[in-house]
Symmetry: C2
Subunit: 326 residues, 2 copies
């Protein structure tokens, strides 16, 4: 089994790589080859005895997609993208990386002719735009309100058409906002949802730019990786022609996030959250999905956390060695 | 007022041109310039005293989009596309004309910088894919089951993002299946819906490839032109951010079409319909929308026919000089 991961140096890419290496297999087949691609050179995974290639490249440059798939990976996890904030700030770069980069990869596969990989695409709940019903059903339309969401929605459509045409076996995984993201904040406007948990647990203050009653849809990095692996392993006959799926998650308000943090880490930790309203972020977040009713994904066996307490505990276990700054 | 029409040599393009020339104005402004573009040279409209440019070009060729908009048309009706059957038969041509052609035009507008045209895009109900509810609501998701539908759905998303960004004032008009199409059949799999009315009224036999209980969503060519003009004239503040709209139409079964033809033209004319089942067309049509609940379009003042009898009468009036072969 040869697996290609684009965006392998990113947070989800690194965790996916580590999980695949730990499992040693995918879809019941032994993992013997990994190709890890990103704009910066991905790290070589520790403890993997198979063949590894790490490639630093701009996927949107001519001829790069062809090189990436020349060794015919069985499964492609296509994670490479620039995030919402950057895609909004830089129109041309967003379309070049997020749309053209994906399309070049799909086209390279098509032009191989006799090659039909399992293609797992990371989409996002940013494909949805307000106004929303109380819970977003599987048949709700996609009206993105960012260029990032537009690019993801376009790639979903392309993936579905290439799949219908028999060019590849695609599945699009609409990730919830991943929380708690480890490490430094990125350019995503959603960053504070992680920041208000991550920084207080690390003994630092974190700004909260929105009101406490803002509700949003979350899943842990561990769940995100689980979705991608489950997507790769899923019997595609069960999936049918609607290959793009909203993932399960935890709907909770900022107040509920803070209450969970207080329960788990105490009031002193939670007091490190500083309310600092930001009108720009408030406006962006007002157009974001709050809650989903992801019946298809649940029926197909995709699993997220049951509540936000679990999400915090996973962060403490996976990132902080089971402890935090009291 | 300078109006650019792409796909101006096509059936809807010619009727739109004729209507604009007959009206002499658009959105309350005198029409003094027309730029008509197609892959073949469009006819010069009769009776127009303003400036007319007719251009034969492949819009997907480099630099062509820039030339088309160099004179800064106030309103762009973007109709140019290859039809569903051809886009399905020729993957590369479909994506090149229907997706890249549109994107090049949007990009040419963006790169002008200080130019913000009113952009009316002809989309299609082919953006929807089965299974469907009894009536498709405005918030139903887009899951096209053809490459043509995929290309239209992608362009809708791009148009919405370019509009949101303030690059242009876009509106996407999802046309019902236009019936009765005059002239020769084109490569669209929906052609028989027109054929079973048009040919019998012209004294010729017409094949019916599907069962009598097949229901579909229709509007006349006159309505299609009306939708586009109303779209161009619509106060975009009323439209909001969801700029792509399913149009009103007439839901009726083939049996109801035939009954209407019998009422209007007599049993002898209707007897010219020959049942000749075609499994390929049956399968394609089985995935098509049957009925819509286009509340937003109706509330915004878009109008179609009230029933299929009207659709037949419009064909007889507009195409046959008020008469037919008994």
């Amino acid at each position: 089994m040869h697996v290609l991961i684009t965006g392998a140096a990113g947070m989800v890419g690194r965790k996916l790589t580590a999980r695949l290496v730990a499992d040693g297999s995918l879809a019941g087949k032994s993992l013997d080859r990994l190709t890890l691609v990103d704009i910066v050179q991905p790290d070589r995974p520790a403890g993997f005895t198979g063949q590894v290639e790490t490639v630093a490249t701009d996927m949107s440059a001519e001829g790069e997609a062809e090189k990436m798939i020349a060794q015919r990976p069985d499964v492609i996890f296509h994670l490479a993208a620039i995030v919402s904030g950057e895609a909004e700030a830089n129109f041309e770069k967003g379309y070049r990386i997020n749309l053209d980069g994906t399309r070049l990869l799909l086209e390279a596969i098509r032009k191989m002719g006799d090659y039909k990989p399992n293609f797992v695409f990371t989409s996002s709940i940013a494909v949805f735009g307000a106004p929303f019903p109380d819970a977003i059903a599987d048949e709700f339309h996609l009206t993105p309100m960012t260029s990032y969401g537009t690019q993801k929605a376009v790639c979903e459509l392309l993936l579905a058409d290439y799949t219908r045409r028999g060019i590849l076996d695609g599945i699009g995984i609409r990730l919830p906002t991943i929380c708690v993201r480890p490490g430094k904040p990125n350019l995503a406007a959603s960053g504070f949802f992680s920041g208000i948990i991550r920084e207080p647990l690390a003994g630092q203050e974190a700004n909260l730019p929105v009101a406490d009653d803002v509700m949003h849809w979350h899943a842990s990095p561990r769940s995100a990786v689980g979705f991608l692996i489950h997507g790769a392993e899923l019997d595609r006959k069960l999936l049918g022609s609607r290959i793009n799926l909203a993932m399960p998650g935890v709907a909770c308000t900022v107040a509920e996030q803070i209450a969970a943090l207080t329960r788990i880490a105490g009031a002193k930790v939670a007091a490190r959250i500083v309310r600092k309203p930001d009108e720009t972020i408030k406006k962006i977040v007002a157009n974001w999905p709050r809650r989903f009713d992801p019946r298809r994904a649940l029926a197909l066996g995709f699993k997220a956390e049951a509540n936000f307490d679990e999400i915090i505990r996973i962060h403490i276990d996976d990132e902080l060695g089971g402890t935090f700054v009291k």
